[in-house]
C-alpha cells in the first residue's frame, strides 16, 4: 500500500515535471530558432547595407569627385582616369561604371570595352527609374548585363545602381545617368552562405515590390514549380510574423535593408519546430519512463524498509494469537522496535495474569471439590458408628467387626491419599463397603446386584459418585425393607463413554421432583449422608465437562435408575494428576489418548 501510494505520487510528480519540461523546452526551441534567425537576418542585413553603402559611396565618388569636378570636353581623360581608379579600387565588387547622356548614348565607361550593337538603354529599368526620380540612387533587381562586349563571350549578373548626374560639356551642363553595375555574385554569395545550413529554414531577398532578388529556389520559383510569399513579405515592417502560405504555417523574420527598401526574409517552417518537438517528446518520454522505473524500485526498497518490520510484527502477533509463536518480532526502526517491545511486554503480562487466573480457578475448584467431598463424612460416620454401637450392645461382635472393617476400607478409599480421581474398581469397592455396612444396619432388608463390565474397572472415575446414589436408593427408593427390594449397580461402555448406574425397584420419584433433583442445590436433605445428586452431578461436570454427569429415569411404583456418564479414560497416575490439576480434555483427546494407551 505504501509502495502504491509512493509510486502514484512519484509518477504524478514526474508526469507533471515531464509536461512542464516539455512545454519549457518547446517554447525554448521556438524562441531559440526565432532569435538565432533574427540575429542572422540582422547580421546579413548589416552586411548587405555595408555592401550597398559601398556602392553608394562609389557612385557618390564618381559623381562628386569625377563627373562634377571635370568638364567632359576639356578633361575627358581625367574623367576616364578617375573612373578607372574607382573601378580598380573596387574591382571585386564592380562589373562596370558608365555614364550615359539623357538620350541613352554612352558618354564614357570603365572598363573600356566595346558597346554592344543595338542596345537601347533608355528602355531599361535602371535608366527609366533614374530619369523619373532624379533625387535618389536607384538599385535594380539582379539582371544580366548586356551593354558591353568584353570579348570573353560571357554574361554577368549585376545589380545596377543608377542616378541622374549633371554633366558639364564645353561649359554647358546637361543631364545624364551614372550607372554603377555591382557584381551580383557578392550578394548571392552572402545569401548562399546563410542558406548553407540545410535544416529546412531559408532566407531570401526581395525588393520593396516583392520581386525576388535572391532565393535559394529561384529557378523553381521562376518556372512556377515553387512559390514564395514575397509580395506579403514586402509589405511587412521589420519584425517577426506568423503566416500561412500554401497551407503551411511558418514564422517569418523580416529585416529591411536601408537605402533600397529591400526585404531580407528568414523563413522558419513549423515543420522544423514540430520535428524538434517530436525529438523533445521522445527524450522526455524516455526520461519519464526511466524515472518511473527507478522510482518504483526506490519506492519498493523504501516501503519495504518501512512496512516489512510492521508486517513481521503483525505476523508475529497473528501467530501469537493463533498460539503458534510465542515470540513477538522486535526489529526495524526505533518506533517499531518500541511498539514490538510494548506488545511483547503486554502479552507477557497477559500470560502471567492468565496463569494466575488458572491457578486461582484450579484452587477454587479444588476447594469446591474438597468442600463437596467433605459434606459426606459427618452424617454417614455418625450413622455407621451408631450402628456399630448398636451391634456391640447387642453383642453381635462379628457383625460389629465386619462393619468396622468395611468402614475402615470405605474411609481408606474415601481418603485415597487425597486424590479426587480414582479407578472405577476402587469406586465400586467403595460402594460395596457402603452397601455391606448398610445391609448390616438394615438387617438385610434389601439385596444388591453388581453387574459390571470388567473392562471399565481400569477407567477413571470421580471419587464418591456411586455411594451417594446407592444411599439415595436406600433412603428414598426402598420403603418396605422386607428383603424384596433390589438395588442393581451396573457398569458398561457406551460408545466412548462409560456408564455406571444404580437402579432400585422402589416407589419412584414424582415427575415434578425429578426435574429439581439435578438443579436445586439448596434443598434440605432429611436423611442420609448429606451428599445430594446435585453434588455428584456438579463434581463430575467440574472434572470432565458439561456433557457428562447424571441422568435420572424414574417411574412411580416401578423404581428409579440414576446413571453416571463418565469419559472412558484409562486410570493412570498421569491422568489422575492431569484431572486433579484441572485440565479438561476434549473428547478427541480422550479418544486419542485412550487409543495410545491401549
Amino acid at each position: 500500500m505504501i509502495m502504491i501510494v509512493f509510486t502514484v505520487i512519484s509518477v504524478l510528480t514526474i508526469l507533471c515535471m515531464g509536461i512542464m519540461v516539455y512545454f519549457r523546452f518547446s517554447s525554448f526551441v521556438k524562441q531559440d530558432a526565432v532569435e538565432s534567425t533574427q540575429k542572422l537576418v540582422e547580421q546579413t542585413g548589416e552586411s548587405l547595407e555595408d555592401y550597398l553603402v559601398q556602392m553608394r559611396q562609389i557612385s557618390d565618388a564618381a559623381y562628386y569627385n569625377v563627373i562634377k569636378e571635370n568638364d567632359l570636353s576639356e578633361n575627358a581623360e581625367k574623367i576616364q582616369e578617375g573612373m578607372k581608379l574607382l573601378y580598380e579600387a573596387n574591382i571585386n565588387n564592380l562589373r562596370s561604371i558608365a555614364i550615359y547622356d539623357k538620350e541613352g548614348n554612352l558618354v564614357t565607361a570603365e572598363p573600356v570595352v566595346s558597346k554592344k550593337k543595338g542596345v537601347d538603354v533608355t528602355s531599361q529599368d535602371w535608366f527609366c527609374q533614374a530619369m523619373e526620380d532624379t533625387v535618389n540612387i536607384h538599385f535594380s533587381t539582379p539582371h544580366v548585363q548586356n551593354l558591353f562586349d568584353d570579348g570573353t563571350r560571357r554574361y554577368y549578373w549585376v545589380i545596377s545602381s543608377s542616378r541622374v548626374v549633371e554633366i558639364t560639356d564645353g561649359g554647358d551642363s546637361y543631364r545624364g545617368v551614372l550607372l554603377v553595375d555591382m557584381d551580383y555574385s557578392g550578394i548571392s554569395r552572402m545569401m548562399k552562405q546563410i542558406n548553407a545550413i540545410d535544416n529546412g529554414q531559408y532566407y531570401y531577398l526581395c525588393d520593396k515590390n516583392g520581386r525576388i532578388i535572391y532565393h535559394p529556389q529561384q529557378i523553381l520559383i521562376n518556372n512556377g514549380t515553387e512559390k514564395e510569399n514575397s509580395a506579403a513579405a514586402a509589405g511587412y515592417k521589420e519584425g517577426v510574423y506568423d503566416e500561412t502560405f500554401e497551407g503551411k504555417h511558418r514564422t517569418v523574420i523580416v529585416n529591411t535593408v536601408s537605402y533600397t527598401g529591400w526585404k531580407l526574409v528568414g523563413v522558419i517552417p513549423d515543420s522544423i519546430i514540430t520535428h524538434e518537438m517530436i525529438n523533445i517528446q521522445q527524450v522526455v518520454m524516455m526520461w519519464i519512463l526511466l524515472m518511473v522505473m527507478m522510482l518504483i524500485v526506490v519506492n519498493r526498497i523504501v516501503s519495504a524498509k518501512i512496512s516489512r518490520p510492521i508486517l513481521r510484527l503483525n505476523d508475529s502477533v497473528l501467530e501469537y494469537e493463533a498460539g503458534k509463536e510465542a515470540k513477538i518480532y522486535i526489529g526495524g526502526s526505533m518506533e517499531i522496535r518500541h511498539l514490538g517491545e510494548s506488545i511483547q511486554n503486554s502479552y507477557r503480562h497477559n500470560e502471567q495474569l492468565m496463569e494466575e487466573i488458572v491457578i486461582e480457578q484450579n484452587e477454587r475448584r479444588k476447594s469446591e471439590m474438597d468442600a463437596l467431598q467433605s459434606q459426606i463424612n459427618p452424617h454417614f460416620l455418625y450413622n455407621t458408628l451408631d450402628s456399630i454401637i448398636w451391634l456391640v450392645e447387642g453383642e453381635r461382635n462379628d457383625d460389629a467387626t465386619f462393619m468396622i472393617s468395611q468402614l475402615a476400607r470405605l474411609f481408606r478409599i474415601s481418603i485415597s491419599k487425597g486424590h479426587t480421581v480414582i479407578s472405577v474398581r476402587d469406586e465400586l469397592q467403595h460402594v460395596r463397603c457402603y452397601v455391606n455396612i448398610q445391609k448390616i444396619r438394615y438387617k438385610d432388608g434389601f439385596s444388591t446386584i453388581f453387574d459390571i463390565d470388567p473392562s471399565i474397572e481400569n477407567c477413571c472415575a470421580v471419587k464418591l459418585t456411586l455411594q451417594p446414589l446407592v444411599e439415595n436408593a436406600i433412603n428414598y427408593g426402598i420403603t418396605e425393607m422386607d428383603g424384596s427390594e433390589v438395588i442393581t449397580i451396573a457398569g458398561k461402555r457406551d460408545g466412548g463413554d462409560i456408564v455406571l448406574s444404580v437402579t432400585d425397584n422402589g416407589v419412584g420419584i414424582p415427575e415434578e421432583k425429578l426435574e429439581l433433583l439435578l438443579t436445586d442445590s439448596t434443598r434440605v436433605r432429611k436423611q442420609g449422608s448429606g451428599v445430594g445428586l446435585v453434588n455428584v452431578h456438579n463434581r463430575i461436570q467440574i472434572l470432565f465437562g458439561k456433557e457428562y454427569g447424571l441422568e435420572i429415569e424414574s417411574e412411580l411404583d416401578e423404581g428409579t435408575t440414576v446413571s453416571v456418564r463418565l469419559p472412558s479414560i484409562p486410570f493412570t497416575q498421569e491422568n489422575q494428576r492431569i484431572f486433579e490439576k484441572g485440565y479438561l480434555f476434549s473428547k478427541e483427546e480422550w479418544e486419542n489418548k485412550d487409543e495410545k494407551e491401549q
Binding site: R154, D198, M286, L289, L290
Partner: protein
C-alpha cells in the same frame, strides 16, 4: 512469489519494454533521418553542358533533404565500364543512381543488370515514351526538338521553304539522338518545301573548318547540338557566312552568337528541368511515394 512481487516485476517489465520500444523507435527514426544518397554518373561531368542539369538535380535533392554525389568518371568507353561504376557506387552506399548511358545498342540491356542491385534512372534522349523501356528515362524528345528547330526556320521564312536548301551539322556521335533530331528537322523542312542538302555528323578535329568550307552552299545550316552550334558560330563569325545558322545549344557561347546575331536562333533544352524531374522521380521512389520510377519527357 507474492502478489506484490509479481506486480512489481510485471510493472518493471512493462516499463522496460516501453523504454526498449522507444529506444528502438528513436534509433529507427534517426536512421530514417540519414540522408538519401544519390550518385550521378555523367560522361565528363565537369563540362559546362551539365551545369543546369546538375543544378536541377541539386535543387530537387535539397527539397527532399538528400545528398547528390557527382561521380568523377573520366571517359567511359562502353556500357560494361559504366556498369562497373554503378556497382561501385552501390557498394559505397548510394541509394540510387542517375546515369547518362554511354552510346551503344546494348547499353540499356547491360545497365538493366546493374539495376537489379540499385535503382537506376537514365537521363538521356528518348525516342518515344510509348516504346517499352528497360529502365526509366527522363529526357528530351529528340524528334520534337529537331522539329521545333525547323519550325523556327520556317517562321523566319514566312512559313515556306520552297526552293531553300538546308545543311545539317552535328559534332555529337550519339547516333540515336542525332538521327532523331535530324529526322524531326528533315520531315518539317521537306514538308515546307525545303530540301536537306547535306547532313554531316562527326568530330573532324582541326580539319573541321576545311570540312565545312567544302560543303555545298545552303540557305540555312542547322546545328543539332551545342558543340556544333559553337563551332558553326565561330566559323560563321570568322568566315562571315551568308547562310543563316539555327541551332540547339545551351552554352553561353551559343547565346553570345545569338546576341551578336551570328546565329539566328538557339533552341535551349531545359537541362535544369531534366535534372530536377529525374531527381524528383528518384526521390519519390526512394521515399515510397511511388512504387516505380516513371519515365518522363521534358
Amino acid at each position: 512469489m507474492k502478489k506484490n512481487n509479481k506486480t512489481f516485476f510485471a510493472l518493471e517489465a512493462i516499463l522496460a519494454a516501453g523504454v526498449l520500444l522507444l529506444a528502438v523507435f528513436m534509433m529507427w527514426e534517426r536512421r530514417e533521418e540519414d540522408k538519401i544518397k544519390v550518385s550521378v554518373i555523367l560522361q565528363n561531368p565537369d563540362d559546362s553542358e551539365w551545369s543546369a542539369l546538375k543544378y536541377g538535380m541539386k535543387m530537387a535533392a535539397q527539397q527532399e533533404d538528400a545528398e547528390v554525389f557527382i561521380v568523377s568518371t573520366g571517359d567511359m568507353r562502353n556500357a560494361n565500364e559504366e556498369k562497373k561504376v554503378i556497382e561501385q557506387e552501390a557498394a559505397e552506399g548510394a541509394d540510387a543512381v542517375i546515369v547518362q548511358p554511354v552510346p551503344g545498342a546494348d547499353t540499356e540491356e547491360i545497365l538493366k543488370e546493374a539495376g537489379k542491385e540499385i535503382p537506376i534512372m537514365l537521363v538521356e534522349d528518348t525516342e518515344s515514351t510509348e516504346e517499352e523501356e528497360l529502365l526509366p528515362v527522363t529526357g528530351k524528345n529528340q524528334y520534337e526538338m529537331g522539329k521545333a528547330l525547323a519550325q523556327e526556320v520556317l517562321r523566319d521564312y514566312g512559313g515556306s521553304l520552297q526552293g531553300k536548301t538546308v545543311g545539317v551539322f552535328s559534332k555529337t556521335t550519339d547516333l540515336k539522338m542525332i538521327s532523331e533530331r535530324e529526322r524531326g528537322a528533315r520531315e518539317t523542312i521537306e514538308k515546307a518545301g525545303g530540301k536537306v542538302h547535306w547532313f554531316v555528323a562527326g568530330d573532324f578535329g582541326e580539319t573541321e573548318d576545311d570540312f565545312l568550307k567544302f560543303q555545298p552552299q545552303t540557305d540555312v545550316i542547322l546545328a543539332l547540338d551545342d558543340q556544333s552550334l559553337a563551332k558553326l558560330g565561330n566559323y560563321a563569325e570568322s568566315e562571315r557566312l551568308t547562310p543563316h545558322v539555327y541551332g540547339i545549344g545551351h552554352s553561353t557561347e551559343a547565346l553570345y552568337f545569338l546576341d551578336t546575331e551570328v546565329v539566328q536562333c538557339v533552341l535551349v533544352p531545359d537541362q535544369f528541368d531534366i535534372g530536377y524531374k529525374s531527381m524528383s522521380a528518384v526521390m519519390e521512389f526512394l521515399s515510397g511515394e511511388s512504387d516505380k520510377m516513371p519515365s518522363d519527357v521534358v
